[in-house]
Every structure is written in structure tokens, then in C-alpha cells.
Amino acid sequence: MNVPALDSVDALLIVPALAGLVLAFLPGYRLAAGVNCVASGLAFLCACALLPHRPAPGAYLFVDDLNVVFVVLSTFVGFTTSAYSASYIGHEIATGKLNPAHVRFYHAMYQSMMFAMNLALLANNIGLMWVAVEFATLTTVLMVGIHRTPEALEAAWKYFILGSVGIALALFGTILVYMSAEPVLGEGSDAMVWTSLMQHAAAFSPRLLNVAFVFLMLGYGTKVGLAPMHAWLPDAHAEGPTPISAVLSGLLLNVALYAILRFKMLLAANAAAIAPGPLMIALGLASLIFAGFMLYRRDDIKRLFAYSSIEHMGIVTFAFGMGGPLANFAGLLHMTMHSLTKSAIFFAVGHVVQVKGTQKIADIRGLTESHPALGWALVAGVMAIAGLPPFGVFMSEFLVVSSTFARQPLLAIPLALGLLVAFGALLLRLVGLAFGEPSESAGEVEASVVPLYVHLALVLLAGLWLEPHVAAWFRNVAALLG
């Protein structure tokens, strides 16, 4: 037993929970933003402490090779977003879009959300994980509606209703998993604990597991933003404060995907159950192609990148659905690259919207001339997300496509088509946004570009030279995913 490491698991939950409580009562936005940032940074350090040694699994919390990837990634993006959010929120207060009470609420909710996401990732109990995902949904709903404009309320309402339905279906699936495990593991909490579920999965009733997976896939898939259930995602991204768009895309979608991956592993351990792959492949491809075409018709900049998130989560789900060491590796890498790149893009977009005073793509032109620091960062980010070399997204997309070609050449055709369609749409929009005669600016903003450049640098680094330790680590996790 490693006592210090065990502490850092608990600390990952205690730090945001305490910070959330403190922030709920802390007046003054500068201090609050600072505390928010420090707490997120501490959580990231705790997550890094899990890398060298992992504690033994407990009754409620556990750490293994899979969830540590997600925990480190989400605490890192949580940390950089909190740093970005300080300047973003400062500008919102200065322009009167948010009042101090709202900001206090916002900071408290931000830490509550981090708490819920860490809990969902670390939970060793399928019931606890479900509760945590539900809690994370509620906190983000409240943050999406924070501007209280009719559009924001509509987005929050839609998100809330669709999210609740998704989460309800996931609970039904969770109950079914319990019922399939109960004859083997006996009544009580043992039949809900990941570690014991995974050990005995082979003996579970396969038919119940099959039905359960369909519900879990649809339920948590709603939260991932997969195509037929995606309707909440663009609205929530477009109307919420931009730091929230960044964490929604960078973190919350991943957390829901993590839940799906866990259940996929459970099904894979049972020989008689259906292969979960085809369902994931179908939903992933549908999301990719649908979002690819929808990108052409967007006139709102945040909505544009929200659809791009649907597209990329589709690619990731597709890769994990393909399975096997290479595709899983590609999926994991793509998920990481997407989180970093998309949050960087939202950091840039948030400030762009603040200086231009509009979210309409048609009214934003010539950013590289009027605001070079932001404009060129946006250019780099969009080029990265569109999948151009030398960025990391290119490498992961290349791996997804090549591993698909090797195993299912027919599936590679729609995959490549979807990628090209999305690529065209993003570059088309980028040219209008970044170049040409600059459009009018509404005001200046004290942009914090450090988080933005850190993310982009990491993505660029991953594209040029994937550090061998990280590569070995990801390969290891990919093998674990089966």
C-alpha cells in the first residue's frame, strides 16, 4: 500500500470539493479566479502523483492504467481552462455581461464540475460513476444557462432534458448490468464494483449484458454527443461562457466516453455477449459524416467548433469500436489531441468573440491583421483540428485511417470521406475568419494567450515527436482495452 499515492486519489476529490465550497462564499472575482486556478493546479499535481505508483483499488475508488490517462488529461485541461477563465470572466464583468453573484456561482460550479468528473473517472462502482456523471451534467447545465438570455436558457433547457433522458437510459443499463452480475457475485455492492465485475464477467448472463450495453451506449452516447442524440451539444457550446465550451469539449465528452469504454471492456470479457464494436463503429461513423456536412452550414463560430467536436468524438468512438492495439492507440491519442486542440480553439474563439462583439462568422474577418496573436493561434488551432501535418491530430487521424484500411478497407472509405468533408468546411471558414480586410472591433481585451499556446505547443510536439514514455504508456492502455 502506498500511503502517499492513496492520499492523492482522495485529494483529487477533496481539493475541488473544498474549493467549490470556499468559492461559493468568496467575494471579489480576482481572488476567486486565483483560488479557482490554484485549486485546479493542485488537482493536476495530485493526478500527476498517480503516474509513478498507483494505490490498491478501494471499495469506492480505484486507479488503473486506463483511468489515469483520463484523470491526468482532464485535470490538465481543467487547470489551463481555469487560468484562461480568469481573463475571460474579467472581461465579461467589465462589459457587464455577468454580475459578481453570477461569477461566484460560476466558480463554485466550475470546481463542483471538476469534482464530479474526477469522481466519475475514479469510481470503482458503476452506481457511483452514474451519480457522478449525473452531477457533472447538472453543474454544466447551470453554467450554460448563466447568461440568462433567452438563447442561453433554451440551450440549457435542451441540454438538461436530453442529458436527463440519456442519463436515465444509462441508469437502466446500469441496473441491467447489476442484474446480470447478481447471480454470480451475490447480492449487494460487490456486483457493482468494477474490479470484481471485470474478474467475473465471463460468467454473466450474456443476453442481459447485450441489452444493458445498448442502453448504456445510447445513454452515455448522448453525453458523448454521438449523432442521433447530439442535439444538445451545439446549443450548449454556443450559448454557455466560452471556458465552459472548452471544458465541455475537452473533458465532459471524454468522461462519458470513458464510461462507454469501461462497459465495452466488460462485454469483451464475456465471450457469449455481442461484440460491442459494430454499434460503436456505426454511431461513430454517423456522427463523423453528419457533423462533417453540418459544418458547411454554420454561421455561428462557437457552433461551428461544437459540430467539429461531434465529428471528432465520432472518430474516437469509431477507433475504439474497431478495437485492437493499433486502433485503440489511435483512438486514445486522437482523444487526447482533440481535447488539447479543441480547448485551445475555444480559448482563442472566446477572446475573438469578445473583441469582435459577435459570434457570427460573417462578421468576423481578417483576424490575423487586426489581432495577430489571437488570429494566428486560431489559424494554427484550426489547421491542427482539420488534421493538417505537422500537428498531433494529423498523426492520430492517420493512424485511425491506416489501421482501418488494414482491417476493414470498406469502412475506411466513409471514414476518409467524412474526414475530407470536415477538412474542407473548416479550411473554408478559416480563410474568411483569419484573412482579408479586418472587420470592425467592438473593444480591446486583455487576452491570456499562455494556456492557448501551451496547448498548441503540446499538440505540435506530439505531432513531431511522440515522447517514448508516453507512447509506451498509451500502447499499454491500448492493449488493456482489447
Binding site: W157, S189, R207
Partner: protein, 220 residues
């Protein structure tokens, strides 16, 4: 004990499905709330019976929460909201009652077809319960899809949650954590929805979801 336990559980779970059908065609706001109260009472009876049959005293707590919270507090709260918004006398146009009912019957058939073979190995009590629970969940979904009024959607969502609780209690020995969490999530969900309803009222003078759609339509 065997057949009686089974029959009574069957009666309550079947009753819940029946009440779900009644919810589907309620066009008056007050009627809707009354039927939802009935829904919650039938649910708590069913949960209490499961507690008795399974010798699981903690399920009595779940039953108590269901009856106190869902049959008393929420209906009272919703009534207050409706009076404050002056919509308690409103009649909602529920399009195509016949078609909705037919769809509902299809959904019940679907859940039987899906659940009964899948649970072949489980105890008969749990099997039937699960099939009924899925029916209630799907009927709740159907209600949320067919209604345009925010309060009706909320009621649809809560009836869906009732189906989930029925499923959770039917699963033998499912840990308490989950039941309480379900109850809690409903509580939180309700608070959130309540806030939303008031805010929506501030902005629109109506709780009609179509109004929200128009807002967006105008912006595009």
C-alpha cells in the same frame, strides 16, 4: 407466499404501466398533476411490496421517499407554479390521442419482446418487473416527445424516473446507494427545472416549449 407475492407485485407493476397510459392523454394541467400523484402512489406501493417480499427494510425508505416527495411535495410545488404562472386552467392540445395510444401499446410490446428473452435466467418476479419498468420508461419518453408544454415534459420525465426506480427495486439486493441517489437526482432535477420554469416565465410569459423554438428560429 410464492404466487401471492408474484401476483401482487405483478398487479402494482402492471398498474404503473396503466397509469402511464392514463398520463399520455391528460390534456388538463390539473388532471395531469393528479394522475402523476397516482403514479407516484402506485410506485411506492409497488416498492413497499418489494421491500416486504425481499425482506429488504431499506426499500421501505425508498417507498417512503417516493410517496412523500413525489406524491406530495412535487405535485404541490407544480400546482403552485401553475397558479403563479396562471396556466392551471389551461388545456393543452394533445395531438392524435389514438395514434399516441397505439404507439404506447407498441412500446409496451417492444419492451416485453426485448426484456423477457434477455432475462430468461432471472427469477420470474424480477423478469416481469423489468419488462414493466422498461414499458414505463418508454412511455415516459413518449410523453416527453409528444408534449410541447414544459410542465408536461417534466411530468413525463418524472414518470420515466419512476420506471427506473421500479427496475432498481426489482433487481434483488441492489445497494441502497443507488436508490437514494435516484431520489436525490429527482430532487435536484426538480429544483433545477423549477428555476428554469421561473426564468422562462420571466423572459417569455409562457412555458410553451414551442416559444423557445421560435426564439431560436428568429435568430437564425
Amino acid at each position: 407466499m410464492g404466487t401471492l407475492a408474484f401476483d401482487v407485485a405483478h398487479l402494482f407493476a402492471g398498474g404503473l404501466v396503466l397509469v402511464s397510459f392514463v398520463l399520455l392523454y391528460q390534456d388538463r394541467m390539473t388532471g395531469l398533476i393528479n394522475i402523476f400523484t397516482l403514479h407516484a402512489i402506485v410506485l411506492s406501493l409497488s416498492v413497499a411490496w418489494q421491500a416486504y417480499v425481499q425482506h429488504a427494510p431499506h426499500l421501505y425508505l425508498t417507498a417512503a421517499i417516493a410517496i412523500l416527495f413525489k406524491a406530495v411535495v412535487i405535485p404541490l410545488g407544480l400546482r403552485r407554479i401553475m397558479v403563479r404562472l396562471r396556466i392551471h386552467r389551461d388545456i393543452e392540445v394533445v395531438g392524435g390521442v389514438g395514434a399516441t395510444m397505439l404507439l404506447g401499446i407498441c412500446l409496451v410490446a417492444l419492451s416485453l419482446v426485448v426484456m423477457l428473452p434477455a432475462t430468461a435466467a432471472a427469477a420470474p418476479l424480477a423478469r416481469e418487473d423489468l419488462a414493466f419498468a422498461l414499458s414505463v420508461v418508454l412511455l415516459g419518453l413518449l410523453m416527453m416527445v409528444t408534449r410541447r408544454n414544459a410542465i408536461s415534459q417534466v411530468v413525463g420525465f418524472m414518470s420515466l424516473e419512476n420506471g427506473l426506480i421500479l427496475a432498481a427495486t426489482g433487481a434483488k439486493g441492489m445497494p441502497l446507494v443507488v436508490e437514494i441517489s435516484v431520489a436525490f437526482s429527482v430532487l435536484i432535477a426538480f429544483i433545477v427545472i423549477g428555476i428554469f420554469l421561473f426564468r422562462i416565465r420571466e423572459r417569455f410569459d409562457t412555458v410553451d416549449i414551442q416559444e423557445l423554438d421560435r426564439v431560436r428560429g428568429g435568430r437564425r
